[in-house]
């Protein structure tokens, strides 16, 4: 198949100011790719027919002699377009079947394979090997207990996610018999669009310095989840207030110190810090009285 593609028909720029003018993270990446195109091609050529050096964190509490954490080296043959997940899967399938990690969809939807790759939380299936320096150091997500190899205990993360009541609540749901839909305005949909992209991978929570030190902090992902529902116009004011009451507690939005770590690592480019800041303003507005 030819790699040459027809230029797609130019689309009209969307009216929404959020989508216009400011560069989206994807556009930025595309631009970076374009500008570094020859470089990339070179490095890919260099790697062709070569091996990728992986250093993978290993730990197994059930096998004597593996209870002491260590790093294993794997040399995986490089293929064009190889991701970190592809590489560890090859290592598991061909070299060491005991190598354990979570993965499922392999296309950045399921959120299972967030690893700590070369000192940064990344989604294994979304990280190209060519973009990384070798040896590629793959560790389980920091600030979570390691169960085995690259598998971490996500219970706490899920607890925090559920703590913000991540489901639609509305007393005025029309009766099913009426066959009436609960419509959302396109503007409102745009507003919560980015927040709805969360795949629960836990990369943000793991990167957050505050969450690391404060176990009760809701964390970026949970707050983002709350944002999605709090900003939904279809929910009543009373429920929005109820949501803000959860968020404005001591270990809620105010713990965020705007380090932007979460925003930086989010594989779905969710502007987490922006959402947290907006909820902070909402919480203040709700409590502000001038009389």
């Amino acid at each position: 198949m030819s790699t040459q593609q027809q230029e797609p028909e130019t689309q009209e720029a969307p009216e929404d100011p959020e989508m216009k003018g400011t560069q989206s993270p994807q556009e930025r990446r595309l631009e970076e790719k374009e500008s570094g195109l020859t470089e990339d091609a070179d490095s890919a050529g260099d790697l062709e027919g070569e091996t990728v050096h992986l250093k993978v964190f290993r730990y197994d509490p059930e096998v004597e002699g593996k209870q002491e954490p260590r790093f294993d080296d794997f040399h995986v043959p490089f293929e064009k377009g190889m991701t970190v997940l592809d590489a560890v899967m090859y290592a598991r399938d061909e070299y060491d079947s005991s190598l354990t990690f979570r993965h499922s969809c392999r296309q950045a939807v399921c959120g299972s394979d967030a690893f700590f790759v070369n000192g940064k939380q990344r989604l294994g299936c979304k990280t190209q090997i060519v973009e990384l320096e070798q040896p590629v150091r793959i560790e389980p997500l920091p600030h979570q207990e390691v169960v085995k190899d690259l598998v971490v205990d996500m219970d706490h993360f899920y607890d925090q996610m559920h703590a913000v009541e991540p489901y639609f609540q509305d007393e005025e749901t029309p009766a099913a018999a009426d066959l009436e839909e609960q419509r959302q305005s396109p503007e409102n949909r745009e507003k919560i669009k980015m927040s709805s992209r969360c795949i629960w991978c836990g990369a943000c929570m793991s990167s957050c310095n505050i969450a690391a030190g404060d176990n009760e902090y809701l964390g970026p992902a949970a707050i983002n989840k709350a944002y999605k529902f709090a900003m939904d116009d279809r929910e009543s004011e009373a429920i929005k207030e109820h949501r803000l009451r959860i968020l404005e507690q001591e270990h809620g939005v105010w713990r965020c110190q705007t380090q932007f770590s979460c925003t930086e690592v989010c594989p779905k480019d969710i502007p987490l810090t922006e959402h947290i800041q907006e909820l902070k303003r909402e919480a203040v507005k709700k409590n502000l009285k001038f009389w």
Binding site: H143, V146, Q277
Partner: protein
């Protein structure tokens, strides 16, 4: 779960090379904040000599009888190390102010996508202002 392994704090200062702009901004803001609080105490200590001066207390400075407030300040200002510390204080204060403005913007939700650039800008501006202040701070002091 039978057993699990706690890796502790991973992103400690040993990994400082991997810190992002926002992280550095946070660390510097904390650091400069504590420095300014520390300075506040020395500032109060020096200024409180004015109480003594108002009551007519005097001291000897370069074989001259001056009031205790003037004497303390002039005595400190004649020290080279104090001048250097003053340049440092200015740098710390300027960074805290500029990054504070940056954080104000962040709180208002303005330009969050440019937060790293605004951090670098405040760093560079701090550097420029500090360098520009050196002649003023270091005039008339012998090494």
């Amino acid at each position: 779960m039978s057993q699990s392994y706690n890796r502790g704090l991973i992103e400690d200062f040993g990994r400082w090379k991997e810190f992002s702009a926002g992280m550095w901004a946070w660390i510097f803001h904390k650091f400069t904040g504590w420095m300014l609080i520390g300075y506040l105490f020395t500032h109060i200590a020096v200024l409180s000599t004015a109480i003594g001066a108002a009551q007519g207390e005097t001291m000897m400075l370069a074989s001259e009888q001056v009031d205790v407030y003037t004497g303390t300040i002039q005595g400190l200002e004649s020290l080279f190390i104090i001048r250097v510390l003053e340049v440092g204080l200015l740098a710390v204060a300027v960074f805290h102010i500029l990054n504070g403005l940056r954080l104000l913007m962040v709180d208002l939700g303005i330009g969050l996508t440019a937060q790293d650039k605004s951090f670098y800008a405040s760093l560079i501006l701090t550097g420029v202002i500090t360098v520009a202040s050196v002649p003023t701070f270091l005039t008339g002091v012998g090494l």
